[in-house]
Amino acid sequence: MADPATLAEESKHNGGGSHGSSSGAHPSGAGQPPLQAAGRLGAGIARAGGRALDAGRSVAGAALGKLVDRAREALTADLDDRDPDYIRENLPLSWLAATLWYRAEVRNMGNVPEDGPVLLVGNHSGGNMAPEVIILPLAFSTFFGVERPFYQLAHNLVLASPVGPFLRRYGTMAASHEHATRALEAGAAVLVFPGGDWEVHRPSWERHKVDLAGRKGWVKLALANDVPIVPVVTVGGQETALFLSRGGWLAKLSGADKYLRLKVIPISIALPWGLNVGDLLGHIPLPAKITIEVLAPIDLREQFGPEPDIDEVYEHVTGIMQDALSGLAAERRFPVIG
């Protein structure tokens, strides 16, 4: 709240300055009534202008402050924001989208350990309308029940967007080591897409490639909390539009990589826009068949010893994810149709 207050204070001083200068005109015009009148009129106009400016600045400052507050609030992680009743009441909506639109198939959800904290690591596809974001939480909630806490890590911008408040009720949190640790310590299952914006906007011709962009925070997270990793692989998401380029050069040129943590400004051909730059408003995804396979859980210390090598774990997990994705891709006969 300090920001809008400071702005409002500054605008007051600015308005006062214009008033002061008009007062200063009065002595110099003494003994010259027409000039005095003109001076008073000028001072009045200046005061009115100053007040209008004050009001304008205050409104702008307050609005900006509200936006900043809202964004800050969206990026915090209160585990209580997840609302099991809300999720339960909205299961039919997710189920309709998954069943009718995506003809989704989720295999081996039983590979997720029955209870306790677990880190689900998935590949990410489909731009800002990634289908697995709907299908995986649905499959998890119907399989284990909405009573089992399940959180998903998402990009800051997603949570700061207008859909952020709804997503928070589903258990979506701003992606950070601290937030994920808090959820895992509470015994929850946490879903992370390490490839994030880099992977989700990859070109359509790389649709059968797992590309976590060398991000290894999830390995450190699993080791620090001593929780098993369950890799999850999705195929079909990159066929929901024609993704042409990540537009990394555009992100650098515009400064979005620095200020918004956006490494990409994707360029695609998507409904209803045609040429879609940025995908900020989302798009209507094509009804591509989505298949998700949950792979066997990996206990890192059991498999790699008491002090696992981060790079080795990363290579191993991304390797088995790629094998599974290639297997799912081989089952597909046609794009979109599946």
């Binding site: 009441e89 299961l91 119907t142």
Partner: protein, 164 residues
């Protein structure tokens, strides 16, 4: 949404009843059911609890259910404790010697889900109806096979008794 299917089985009610109330048999005849596990000490009867899942569209749906009515060789009803709301009932009625009518009723939904919930119930109905029909057909086949095996066993025992 409530669905209802029935079938006539050439076997006495006791055989049908014993078959459907044994949780070990459920995965053998219930179409679409991917999990049916006993929760707690009690395997069957009033108060028995099961963790179950059935494939409906894109999801495996279910939860914890509890047997809330158990009238021997006649009625068994269950209700959901967690998960999607559901109520189910087996009605077993004798039609004559070695003829039993078996009815399976299933009601489901999500309280508070409104119009979208109703729409999803409509969309799910044909698939669930197919599961129920297949389940009854598989139940009929398995129970009648068991009946034939029992009759054959008895005849064999009688023949062996006669030759002895």
């Amino acid at each position: 949404m409530r669905l209802n299917q029935s079938i006539v089985i050439a076997a006495p009610p006791k055989l049908v009843w014993d078959y459907i109330t044994d949780p070990a048999n459920v995965l053998h005849y219930m179409s679409g059911v991917t999990r049916w596990e006993v929760v707690g000490e009690q395997r069957t009867g009033l108060g028995a609890r099961y963790r179950m899942l059935i494939k409906v569209g894109s999801a495996e749906v279910g939860g914890l259910i509890e047997v809330v009515e158990f009238t021997n060789e006649r009625d068994m009803a269950w209700s959901s404790v967690t998960g999607v709301d559901q109520r189910g009932r087996w009605r077993v009625r004798e039609l004559g010697p070695d003829r039993t009518r078996v009815e399976l009723r299933f009601a489901y939904g999500v309280a508070g889900s409104g119009l979208v919930g109703y729409l999803s119930e409509l969309v799910a109905a044909p698939g669930l109806g197919t599961h129920m029909r297949r389940s009854l057909q598989q139940l009929k086949r398995q129970v009648e096979n068991q009946r034939l095996r029992e009759v054959a066993e008895r005849r064999r025992a009688e023949r062996e008794g006669a030759t002895a």
